[in-house]
């Protein structure tokens, strides 16, 4: 499980996160929604320390991530090797896929297992092929990203994130850059992962999809989670006028 407490983050003068709290229970899927600029992507990236945060703490399975308190109470960033170890327990998928353009689908997927986790080439190749088959790309193993459609690239990116056998999957607007007809194939892959019981935190504007797969939906507003609960509660029965307005505009 993940526990996030009092996360604060500023870019210069602008405070993006103003004490965000979030819990993700074992096997739970939590979706962050909110206006653009509300801090939901920043919050997601903080979980993987792709953004540094100024205050607060993040725990995975009860263990404090990224920072530790020094003897004098000040906060200290953990050493790079430790941070790398921790990052291997999470997988993140980005809006723009971010595949390595000079590597085949398989090489992209195997990079983490082979070089971060020091799994043998043969073994990681086998696992990589298995994962690519699972996202429906068994015949694209040797294709380079430029030979793949956006939807296919994003499925490779999902396989790459899964290749680390992560405890948590972070999905940052993974269908936002896709042509409408390619969205379904990526969403199907995410659906197929639900039975695995892997924790997921996602940021999305696809409210219908969020409603369908999420255990909880969190409405992020002004750097905090202002409302969180089961999809029906947040999406249909909320009293918050800004949330109602936000949802109305999305429809």
């Amino acid at each position: 499980m993940i526990e996030i407490r009092g996360l604060r983050k500023s870019y210069g003068e602008v405070e993006v996160l103003k004490g965000a709290n979030l819990d993700v229970a074992e096997g739970e899927v939590v979706t962050l929604i909110g206006r653009s600029g509300c801090g939901k992507t920043t919050l997601l990236r903080c979980i993987d320390l792709l953004e540094e945060y100024d205050e607060g703490e993040i725990k995975l399975d009860g263990k404090l991530l990224w920072y530790t308190s020094a003897a004098d109470g000040s906060r200290q960033r953990l050493s790079e090797p430790v941070i790398r170890q921790m990052r291997q327990r999470m997988g993140i998928v980005f809006q723009q896929y971010n595949l390595f353009p000079h590597m085949t689908a398989l090489e992209n997927v195997c990079l983490g297992p082979e070089f971060s986790q020091k799994i043998s080439t043969r073994e990681s190749n086998e696992f990589g092929r298995e994962l690519l088959a699972r996202v429906g790309l068994a015949d694209k193993v040797l294709a380079y990203p430029f030979q793949l459609s956006g939807g296919q690239q994003q499925r490779v990116a999902i396989a790459r994130a899964l290749a680390m056998r992560p405890r948590v999957l972070l999905l940052d607007e993974i269908t936002s850059a896709l042509d409408p007809e390619l969205v379904a194939e990526v969403e199907d892959v995410i659906r197929s992962l639900l039975s695995e019981g892997i924790m997921m935190v996602l940021v999305t504007h696809a409210i219908g999809f969020a409603r369908e797969i999420s255990n909880k939906i969190a409405y992020v507003s002004e750097g905090r989670i202002s409302e969180i609960g089961p999809p029906a509660d947040v999406l249909d029965r909320s009293q918050d006028p800004t949330l109602k307005e936000f949802l109305r505009r999305l429809r």
Binding site: D48, M86, R87
Partner: protein
């Protein structure tokens, strides 16, 4: 006439050798310089930029004279050929260093995010991501500097390095046949530069086939 061509061929061989030394030495030096350029230590970054300013801001001709006449003053006695190789390495190293630095800066932030999220150790990031990408990004500029190296080697004639330009001048002084000899020398330079260009294109094409998006037909 045949002896003239033979002498020019020998001169061209020396030029090619110097350019080779400059390109290999310069590449190694440039890699070292880039360690400084991307160092966490501010002093090293400062050194890098200062060095680049000097290497680019002083004409190669002046640099060559400076090094050739300054070294003996410090008790370092080296022949013109060694000095020539050193001058080229120092100068071309700065050019390559800026090419490489530009290549590293061209790696999009999104790909750094990918390497970080996978928890890749720095050595693997360098070997599997940075080097292959920078190679592809910078190859055209790299070849450009290689061609420049051939031409820059002609400057070394002022510090009495016997290469193609000096060989041609010697023949001209002896025979006073300015045009035929200089045209012949030009042809030698052209062929050398052209060959490097073609070789570069070939390598570029080979690498581009390995899945680089963007510049494919």
């Amino acid at each position: 006439m045949t002896s003239t061509l033979w002498i020019l061929t020998q001169g061209a061989a020396v030029s090619l050798f110097l350019a080779f030394v400059g390109a290999i030495g310069g590449t190694a030096f440039a890699l070292l310089l880039n360690v400084a350029a991307f160092s966490k230590i501010g002093l090293l970054r400062g050194f890098y930029h200062t060095y680049i300013y000097f290497a680019r801001g002083i004409p190669l001709l002046v640099q060559a004279l400076l090094i050739f006449y300054a070294l003996p003053a410090f008790g370092i006695l080296i022949g013109p050929l060694t000095a020539g190789g050193l001058v080229l390495t120092l100068y071309i190293g700065a050019m390559f260093a800026e090419v490489f630095r530009g290549g590293v800066l061209a790696i999009p932030r999104t790909l750094w995010d990918s390497t970080r999220s996978l928890g890749l150790p720095p050595a693997s990031v360098l070997r599997k991501v940075v080097v292959p990408l920078v190679l592809r990004y910078t190859l055209p500029s790299y070849i450009n500097v290689c061609v420049l190296t051939i031409k820059a080697s002609s400057v070394l004639s002022v510090i009495s390095v016997w290469e193609l330009t000096l060989a041609a001048r010697e023949i001209v002084e002896r025979t006073l046949d300015v045009f035929p000899v200089m045209i012949a020398a030009s042809c030698f330079y052209f062929v050398m530069c052209f060959s490097i260009d073609r070789l570069g294109r070939h390598v570029e094409h080979r690498l581009a086939l390995k899945g680089f998006s963007g510049e494919r037909p």
